[in-house]
């Protein structure tokens, strides 16, 4: 059975609870069908909210404490935020581990358009698992990267509802919205 490790175990700067973070992560691992061990390394010394997958095998996720924080209560843990962050990330990990998905570039090499398209696909799946995701927020992210136009909105709607996409499908969406942006500039 997959195990989850959260570091640090004791918190100095924030009032987080490692067991609560691990419980959310374990549930998500089961729901996304990932049978891998997961290590979550939280940097509690910063209120910023950047998240990255630093290793795929073994699966290691680095999180700045702002990402897990309750936006209404500074330094307090939000399980909704934990599920929001890890749900998106674990769906992307699952895609990476699925040979049928194809071979996306490493995260650091993704363009903002590619990353946001993949996020829309990932978070749409979180929504169907019953998590309280913010569709309009994700649409706003998508529009910022793919354009404020009908082509981008329609592409987002398709990604949000999709299942079984491949990396080539995501790249095709990026090419489609890029063409629409180029046409509007011209």
């Amino acid at each position: 059975m997959a195990s989850v490790t959260v570091t640090p175990d004791e918190w100095q700067y924030v009032a987080f609870d490692s067991a609560r973070i691990a419980a959310v992560a374990e549930k998500l691992l089961g729901e996304t069908g990932l049978d891998v061990d997961l290590k979550i390394e939280v940097d509690e010394t910063t209120p910023l909210g950047r998240v990255s997958m630093t290793s795929l095998q073994p699966l290691v996720v680095a999180v700045e404490s702002g990402a897990f924080e309750d936006a209404k209560r500074p330094r307090q843990l939000s399980e909704v935020a934990v599920a929001d962050v890890l749900g998106r990330l674990l769906h992307r990990c699952r895609d990476r581990l699925d040979p049928a998905f194809g071979e996306p570039p490493p995260d650091a090499a993704l363009t903002l358009q590619q990353s946001t398209a993949w996020d829309a696909y990932a978070v749409g799946r979180c929504a169907r698992l019953g998590y309280p995701v913010q569709r309009q927020r994700r649409l706003y992210h998508f529009r910022n990267r793919h354009g404020f136009n009908d082509v981008a909105d329609q592409a987002f709607a398709r990604l949000w509802e999709a299942q079984g996409l491949t990396w080539a499908d995501l790249e095709a969406v990026c090419q489609e919205t890029d063409a629409a942006r180029s046409a509007s500039v011209g």
């Binding site: 700067y13 924030v14 910063t46 950047r50 209560r73 500074p74 903002l112 309009q136 910022n144």
Partner: protein
């Protein structure tokens, strides 16, 4: 109806959560983190659409502006009511109250714009904690200090934020954000100008009162430069909008002073991080 209404009794529905200023400013992580920021980030932190976290940073910032608009409405309304009408030091002239009433009208419109902008950006009302700092600055028993603390310091900061976010909308190709910011920016310039004009009129014969008011403005300006939020270098997420501040009645010397206060706050934040 009571005078000098306390901040903790402001009417809010269940969506809103108040964030204590002491908790906010005493967060041991600081604004940038114990280490003073991410390696490699130093040098360019301007809030522009090309940053990976830019859309969420913009949402957070605009929610802060939204609750600021609510409090600016409440504060300007209180200034119409809290003081007897007159020209004494503990009174407010009728014409000042008229300006504050006009500001209430603007702020109410800004609240409506901000609600619609929140929908557009995917932000839920009350999604982020609300600090009541702006309203607290509007509770000063001297109306001139309200004008420097709120109209010149905080509405001045709004000029900087709206200018930065208008540019953000322009670069991102977001017409809704760009127009919302542009319309609100025009009003903010007027509000800051009101503060500048009334400061000079009400303290024309009272240099000590003027000095106190400007010192209060400096304190507020410094608090809101917390962690180097606003300044003139690319290291500051929000750019000091010199041209619009000139239009709002700031002299070059006053703008330089705000710039220096911001630099001081940036250095202190970095030093706090280094000590951590």
């Amino acid at each position: 109806m009571r005078k000098l209404f306390p901040p903790d009794l402001l009417a809010r529905d269940g969506r809103f959560t108040r964030v204590n200023n002491a908790d906010r400013f005493n967060d041991p992580r600081g604004a940038r983190g114990v280490a003073g920021g991410r390696p490699g980030k130093k040098g360019n932190n301007r809030l522009t659409p090309d940053l990976p976290e830019a859309p969420d940073a913009a949402r957070t910032l605009m929610h802060g502006i939204f609750v600021g608009e609510i409090q600016a409405l409440e504060g300007a309304g209180r200034t119409c009511w809290d003081f007897e009408t007159g020209k004494g030091s503990d009174e407010a002239p009728f014409e000042l109250k008229l300006d504050m009433a006009r500001q209430c009208w603007d702020e109410a419109r800004h609240c409506e714009i901000s609600v619609k902008l929140s929908d557009w950006m995917g932000t839920e009302l009350g999604e982020f904690g609300e600090s009541a700092f702006l309203y607290e600055a509007a509770c000063n028993p001297d109306p001139v200090l309200r004008l420097t603390g709120v109209n010149r310091a905080l509405e001045g900061l709004a000029i900087d934020v709206f200018t930065t976010m208008k540019d953000f909308g322009d670069i991102a190709g977001d017409p809704v954000l760009e127009f919302c910011e542009d319309w609100m920016l025009a009003d903010e310039v007027t509000h800051v100008k009101m503060g500048s004009d009334w400061l000079r009129r009400l303290t024309a014969d009272d240099p000590e009162r003027r000095a106190n008011a400007l010192e209060f403005q400096r304190v507020v300006d410094k608090l809101f430069s917390f962690g180097g939020l606003r300044g003139e270098t690319d290291e500051n997420p929000i750019k000091l909008a010199r041209r619009f501040r000139e239009l709002a009645g700031f002299t070059d010397v006053e703008i330089d002073d705000i710039s220096n206060v911001s630099e001081e706050a940036t250095r202190e934040a970095a030093a706090t991080g280094a000590r951590g």
